[in-house]
């Protein structure tokens, strides 16, 4: 009777199977495979492609000695902090706040411009950003009007260029999240503060921000995870150059695995990135659970 009940319960969940299979084979599988092959000398071609040998922690030791790895770790932190945590997050919040005060026509127009950069396919956005920052591109034309000399932004300050490009591309997400969050702030609260003589900045700092702090935390986590994975934008704009000057971890993993054919070493880099993502992911889940008791 009990066994029968159990079987029936399991049968009810049979429809979940296709989804679970897909997730196991194409997501969980590769993650486990990554950790495994980061411990081998697997290559793209040749003998080590057919019969990779177990090398233990050699790839990770190499990572620690390779001067490019700490550089690219630092660049990844810079990229995420600059473009996601500061750029997209703060600009998105500022736009959402300003849009509530602006006339509907203005806020709709600006909103459309911001969202357009986000909805475009990433490769198209990357081309547009590349053209914008290139030597005879739009930015230099604009600055030329003010008498500034031509700078090759992608060559002299590659990180600044990709950070600005990613802010341009990704701010819409934060803006949409914050617009929804602000709509959820009870009007009586801010009105009461207004009656008590609080100015706009005070109302923002002491009423609005504390009320939406859950959304702020969630948004920070999500934009961090999204930005951690950015590859196409950087690949098209600078390809990680010049001299690894904009090689973030995804670019490094790609280069090691596919350009230099060292799958084992490339997956070691990828494994580090997966671990960083897992830490942020776990923190994100905790956050969600606390918000929904």
């Amino acid at each position: 009777m009990a066994a029968n009940h159990r079987t029936r319960q399991l049968l009810r969940y049979l429809p979940v199977l296709p989804a679970v299979l897909l997730l196991l084979v194409f997501l969980a599988g590769p993650v486990l495979w990554a950790f495994h092959s980061s411990l081998t000398d697997a290559g793209l071609t040749g003998r080590s492609a057919r019969n990779p040998e177990w090398v233990g922690l050699e790839n990770y030791q190499r990572l620690l000695q390779d001067p490019v790895f700490p550089l690219s770790l630092a660049l990844t932190v810079l990229f995420v902090a600059g473009s996601a945590i500061v750029g997209q997050n703060v600009l998105g919040l500022a736009l959402a706040v300003l849009m509530r005060r602006a006339r509907p026509v203005v806020s709709a127009t600006v909103g459309t411009a911001v969202v357009a950069a986000w909805v475009l396919p990433e490769i198209v956005a990357a081309f547009a950003a590349y053209a914008f920052f290139s030597r005879d591109g739009t930015l230099n034309q604009l600055l030329g009007n003010f008498g500034a000399s031509e700078t090759d932004w992608l060559y002299t300050v590659p990180m600044a260029a990709v950070i600005l490009a990613n802010i341009w591309r990704g701010t819409a997400f934060s803006m949409l999240v914050y617009r929804a969050a602000l709509n959820g702030v009870p009007a009586e609260l801010t009105e009461a503060a207004h009656m008590d003589g609080a100015g706009p900045w005070q109302r923002l700092a002491f009423i609005t921000l504390p009320v939406i702090r859950g959304s702020i935390a969630t948004n920070l986590m999500l934009v961090t995870l999204q930005t951690l994975a950015v590859f196409t934008l950087i690949w098209v704009m600078t390809a990680g150059g010049p001299a690894n000057g904009s090689t973030t971890l995804p670019v490094l993993a790609y280069q090691e695995a596919f350009k230099f054919g060292d799958i084992g070493y490339g997956t070691a880099v990828a494994s580090v990135l997966i671990l960083i993502g897992a830490v942020f992911g776990a923190a994100y889940l905790r956050l969600l659970r606390e918000r929904k008791p």
Binding site: R12, Y13, P15, V16, A19, V20, L22, L23, V25, F26, L27, A28, A42, A49, L91, L95, L98, M99, V106, S107, T109, V110, A113, V114, V119, L120, P121, E122, I123, V124, F127, A128, A131, F132, R135, D136, G137, T138, Q141, W168, F173, L176, V177, A180, T218, V230, F231, P250, A253, Y254, A257, F258, I263, A270, L273, I274, A278, G281, L285, L288
Partner: protein, 260 residues
């Protein structure tokens, strides 16, 4: 605020002006002799139609597979109580947190082992797997909104669970399913990295990849044509986004879904 808006528009301006300027370069300028030459130049089967057809196959295939698997999975998760539900939902949400680009190197290895490299169906399955977690969350939310009482009435009339799902639940959540499908479609259509790594032969590459290999690597770059191609390639997703944003009543349909 208008200034910020203008900053967001500037890079896009190049795209639009460059596409109608036969002599386009990196710079943004009003074309001397505007014309549709660039569009005419890329409107060939080889350059435009095959990659777009591949993009369509890839995105529609991913959408169909994802939606089918998501609906099936969402049904028991929405209709039965079990202590297995919550861990499962949080488990797949955790899956979405893993950086997609980091998984590409091991996925390439997996595809080599299974001899699936350069296979369109296998790429569809992988894309479906990556969009499934989000799709299951969205589909389940939409299904939770359909009252159980309606199904119970159908069961009383003798309908099986499957029949009730097909004739009662799915029709009621059609707008929600459309949002999920379009959401997955847009993501697959715009994805560059996955087909860039997994599809090798030019005949199978979608527009996201062909645009890169054709214009980026073979010598001189025809910027006007690049811009024209970019616009033609972007139009479908822009249109779909507008449909979703309108249909859902607010522009947060996509972002809101991400918050679970």
């Amino acid at each position: 605020m208008l200034l910020i808006g203008a900053c967001f528009l500037l890079p896009l301006l190049w795209l639009v002006l460059g596409s109608v300027d036969p002599a386009a370069g990196h710079g943004t300028k009003v074309p001397q002799r505007p014309g549709l030459d660039n569009f005419a130049a890329v409107l060939t089967p080889e350059l435009l139609f095959r990659p777009l057809w591949n993009s369509l196959l890839l995105s529609a295939g991913t959408g169909v597979v994802t939606l089918a698997a998501a609906v099936l999975a969402a049904y028991p998760l929405s209709r039965y109580r079990s202590r297995f539900n919550t861990p499962f939902m949080y488990g797949i949400l955790f899956g979405t947190c893993l950086p997609a680009t980091a998984i590409m190197v091991p996925v390439y290895g997996l595809f080599v082992q299974l001899r699936l490299l350069d296979s369109l169906p296998a790429t569809v399955l992988f894309l479906a797997a990556t969009s499934l977690p989000m799709a299951i969350w969205m589909t389940r939310n939409f299904m939770d909104a359909v009252p159980l009482a309606l199904e119970e009435a159908a069961w009383v009339d003798g309908a099986s669970r499957l029949a009730a799902l097909r004739s009662i639940v799915l029709p009621l959540m059609r707008p929600g399913l459309a949002v999920v499908f379009i959401f997955v479609f847009i993501q697959a259509w715009g994805n560059f990295f996955v087909p860039f790594v997994l599809l090798l032969s030019e005949a199978r590459q979608p527009a996201a990849v062909s645009i890169f290999s054709f214009f980026g690597q073979h010598g001189a770059v025809a910027y006007g044509q690049l811009a024209a191609f970019s616009i033609l390639y972007s139009i479908p997703v822009l249109a779909l986004y507008v449909i979703v944003a309108r249909g859902a009543g607010n522009s947060l349909a996509l972002a809101g879904a991400v918050r679970g």
